[in-house]
Amino acid sequence: MSEDGRRLLIVDDNKVNRLLLARHIDLLGHPFALAENGRVALEMLRSEPFDLLLLDIEMPELDGFTVLEQLKADPALRDVPVIVTSSLEGMENIVRCIELGAEDYLPKPVNAVLLKARIGASLEKKRLRDEQRDLVRRFATPEVEQDLQQSGFALGGKRVRVSVMFCDIRSFTALCESQPPEETIELLNTYYMLMFDAIGGQGGVVTLMIGDGLMAVFGAPSSLDDCAHSAVAASLEMVELIDQFNLERTSTNRPPIHIGIGIATGDVVAGYTGTRQRATYTCVGDTVNLAARLEAHTKVAERRILIDGATRNELGDGISIEPLGDVMIKGKAATVDAFAVETP
């Protein structure tokens, strides 16, 4: 077994070729699986992870060229490196493989020494790509990472309709003063884990975390069919998760925490802001300010979730809403038609 146990998929319709490649891979110490044509290979790739594909071209049902095309078109699979192993006639066919995204081409019968070197190089390149992707995901989000992959990085943004959510922990400063900082970090980590689960589960993306506060966007960078509904559904789940978390806290004699959430829906400009060296994905516009103000107003209104009229108008039945009328909100010159989402 190789040190890292990275798994290969061998795709060949010819039994002798399949067995021979399997033997080579086995001797190299990599775990592997076998597929007898392109259709079976794609099914396997979509149901289990592989780190490298050894692909034949001439196959019945679905040939290697089609497999390469489908891999390239699938965001979840296009990073899987492919080494074509074939005895194709004609340079144009080999060029076609490379143009379709194959990392390398090895003529059959495959030379074992060359195969080892090519597999090693391909797996190393994939490892570096995976590391880079994980790093971006850790400091941005999987959605932003995907957006960067698809569209590339460019400062600036585009106008999109989204729902913006702000959330923070009530009386967090007082809570911090009453307990050691280690406990506060632990509390924040649990709080963020719960909030990320609820927000991500509804298709939202957390774009900002400051202390105990967070901003999330529903509808960018990937569009959502019903961003307002998704945001409100996430907020109800967040409140429910905090209630459950509080049961656990009070059972160990720790004070419960309370959160306030503000949601507004409308046009924003979403994109990358900063410099070419250091940038962040964010949304700007009055909708963002309104969501932040509504969140702050939850303290005054003594409600856990406040939403604006635009969000209210996009919600269907099934969510209980309490109209608060036109309210004066700090930081806004005109009154705001605000609504409270009723929570259990």
Binding site: V16, N17, E58, E89
Partner: protein, 115 residues
């Protein structure tokens, strides 16, 4: 004088790279599979399916190369590249020649592996 049905240097390399026992096992598999490839060539010729014919010839060429069956591989390659001939008799001749080359390669492989 024609060359040996199996290039001994190629076969020795295969044995060295995969182990002697595995090479025997692989040769057995080829001897089991090859008649199916010949049958596929005949079937494809019978229904005039050039793609199937070329794929079967490609498969046989690939395996022949693995064991160093140079003459068999060269003839299979010729069929792969040219495809079905418009002349039925020329197809029959070509397939008959291929079967002879396969029989020679199979006999040599069996002798080498003591099958």
């Amino acid at each position: 004088m024609s060359e040996d049905p199996i290039n001994l240097s190629v076969f020795a390399d295969l044995q060295a790279a995969t182990g002697p026992e595995f090479a025997v096992e692989l040769a057995n598999t080829f001897l089991e599979e090859a008649p199916g490839m010949i049958a596929e060539l005949h079937n494809a010729r019978a229904v005039g399916d050039n793609e199937r014919f070329q794929r079967a010839a490609h498969s046989l060429k690939s395996n022949a190369n693995t064991f160093g069956a140079v003459a068999l591989a060269a003839h299979a390659r010729e069929l792969e590249v040219k495809g079905l001939d418009d002349d039925r008799l020329r197809n029959d001749d070509a397939l008959s020649q291929l079967e002879t080359l396969l029989a020679e390669a199979a006999a040599a492989l069996k002798a080498l592996t003591n099958v």
